[in-house]
């Protein structure tokens, strides 16, 4: 008996030890995320602007609007550095060009330096005569010194008299992009330019795509959900209404709209045919009420199938329509 007892105790203890070591505490189940349909009560106006959903997005009161992306060109951050390169290139040409074409210019500038205000010919060029274009010394505005490079391009000054220029330059630091575009327009406007100059002034920026993704965060919702921004447009609703109206014979003799106003609800199949029998939601309490309601039901049944956009079927699968002589 003792042998059996000892063996039994040993077996139980080893079994228990195995249960403690070999059987780790139960593993948790793998829970796959099941998409829960977020149900929000939102005003109909906001539904139209709903964007594609993302589950990880934050829930926001305001859905992200479907903004058309801005053009790349006005992009503020990359632009500033680029304008400067075009500005710097010009300087090199002038020195080279000076010997040959700029010949006419040098004369102009010389008178200029004294009077910055005077008209086109003189003002801008002051620097030109000296080979070192960066030197803006002649230019009156002290701020201009700060951004000496941009103003240097020869063409600009010619178009506009100096007076406005200081203002521009003052603005320039804030909106460099704008300035470059202005520069461009100015330069193209002037046909006088020689080819070298134009080449120097050409915008070397690569053409950029038309649209970028909206920067707004995604709205909360299912990723693969149907695009919720699809909704019945007014014209489509009107189309349905007019199709029904064709067949609706307003009961003769009742001109009082309150006597004839009927609300019915019906569901449609995907091919536009009426599914089942329209149900009367509301009809006038007068003695003609049922007649009016039945006439509306008849109209709905007669006029099918309706021509409606199939891709928005889930929007018009269930229609509630109000019949009233005024439409």
């Amino acid at each position: 008996m003792r042998a059996g007892l000892v063996t039994s105790v040993a077996a139980h203890l080893s079994l228990l030890a195995w249960g403690l070591i070999g059987l780790p505490s139960s593993k948790p189940f793998d829970v796959t995320m099941v998409e829960a349909m977020p149900v929000d009560l939102v005003p109909i106006a906001e539904v139209t602007s709903l964007q594609k959903g993302k589950k990880t997005a934050e829930v926001k009161d305001k859905p992200s609007p479907n903004k058309p992306a801005e053009k790349e060109t006005p992009k503020p951050s990359p632009a500033p550095p680029k304008p400067t390169p075009p500005a710097t290139p010009p300087p090199p040409p002038p020195p080279k060009a000076e010997p040959t074409p700029p010949a006419p210019k040098p004369p102009e500038p010389t008178p200029a330096p004294p009077e910055p205000a005077p008209p086109e010919p003189a003002p801008p060029e002051p620097a030109k005569p000296e080979p070192a274009p960066p030197e803006p010394t002649p230019e009156p505005a002290p701020q201009q010194q700060a951004e000496a490079a941009p103003p240097q391009p020869a063409p600009k000054p010619r178009v506009k008299p100096t007076p406005p220029k200081p203002v521009q330059t003052a603005e320039a630091p804030k909106k460099p992009a704008e300035k470059t575009s202005q520069q461009q327009s100015q330069s193209t406007a002037e046909s006088k330019f020689d080819a070298d100059r134009i080449a120097a002034l050409l915008d070397r920026q690569k053409p950029t795509g038309g649209e970028t993704a909206s920067q707004e965060p995604e709205s909360f919702g299912a990723e693969e959900a149907r695009n919720p921004s699809a909704r019945m447009t007014q014209s489509e609703i009107d189309a349905l209404r007019s199709q029904v109206q064709r067949c609706w014979n307003i009961p003769v003799g009742w001109t009082d709209p309150s006597e004839v106003t009927v609300t019915i609800r019906f569901s449609l199949n995907q091919d536009g045919t009426v599914n089942g029998v329209p149900s009367i939601q509301q009809y006038p309490a007068s003695q003609y009420g049922t007649v009016a309601a039945e006439s509306a039901v008849r109209a709905v049944l007669q006029c099918g199938p309706y021509q409606l956009p199939v891709e928005k079927y889930n929007l018009w699968s269930e229609v509630q329509m109000r019949f009233s002589p005024q439409g």
Partner: protein, 236 residues
């Protein structure tokens, strides 16, 4: 442990569901049930091992004895060789009958019928003793087999009862609160079944083995009684 405490335990350690922690979290009644079931499982396995060894031994002894008995050796010699040490099973039957036989002749008993009756009685008594030795404690296996699941079920019902009280006290029906209490309660039934299933199987197996051995012993007893009766007739 009042229900609120149970609820607190359930809330604190919902993730820890190892066997030991389940046992430690259990209500005291459930703990006692589990301990009792474990002890009965240990004891029933001890009985099973003991009986299996015993029956094997008895079968071997019987085989050996039958071989010697039917080998044509004289009964007197056989008796002399066996009487010196305590015999078991078939040998015990033989020794008991021979002792009675020799004693009757030594005392000079006259009635052959009386001698025959005494030998039969002695054989019966020895048979009963042997059977009792074989079947002792087998009833414990039967008891564990039939009552084990019920005892475990009692622990489970008690555990679920207290865990429901805890749920009611914590006013929270999330599965994380409900599950540990029920898991710990179900452990009691698991242990009950763990003890009962081997017990039932072993009981059936061992009792049939015991029946077969006693049948062999009875057959030998009848046969030996017939041999002795023939001897008595020849002598008288």
């Amino acid at each position: 442990m009042n229900p609120a405490d149970v609820g607190q335990v359930a809330l604190d350690a919902p993730a820890n569901l190892s066997l030991i922690s389940l046992f430690l979290q259990a209500h005291i009644v459930v703990k006692l049930v589990m301990l009792g079931l474990i002890v009965s499982s240990i004891w029933s396995w001890a009985i099973i091992i003991d009986k299996v060894l015993l029956f094997g031994r008895i079968r071997r002894q019987i085989d050996r004895f039958e071989k010697v008995f039917w080998s044509g050796q004289s009964l007197e010699e056989l008796y002399r060789s066996l009487a010196s040490r305590p015999a078991t099973s078939m040998a015990a039957l033989f020794v008991a009958a021979m002792r009675e036989w020799k004693r009757s002749f030594e005392s000079g008993a006259k009635s052959p019928i009386g001698l025959q009756m005494r030998i039969d009685k002695v054989l019966d008594v020895t048979l009963a003793r042997e059977a009792e030795r074989m079947e002792s404690r087998l009833l414990f296996l039967a008891t564990v087999g039939s009552a084990g699941p019920f005892i475990g079920l009692f622990g489970t019902v008690w555990g679920i009862m207290t865990s429901f009280q805890a749920i009611a006290a914590s006013k929270n029906t999330s599965l994380a609160v409900v599950a540990p209490g029920i898991a710990e309660a179900l452990l009691a039934t698991a242990i009950g079944l763990f003890a009962a299933i081997p017990a039932v199987i072993a009981y059936n197996k061992l009792s049939s083995a015991a029946g077969k051995i006693s049948l062999r012993l009875e057959g030998f007893a009848d046969e030996f009684s017939a041999i002795l009766s023939r001897q008595i007739d020849e002598r008288s």
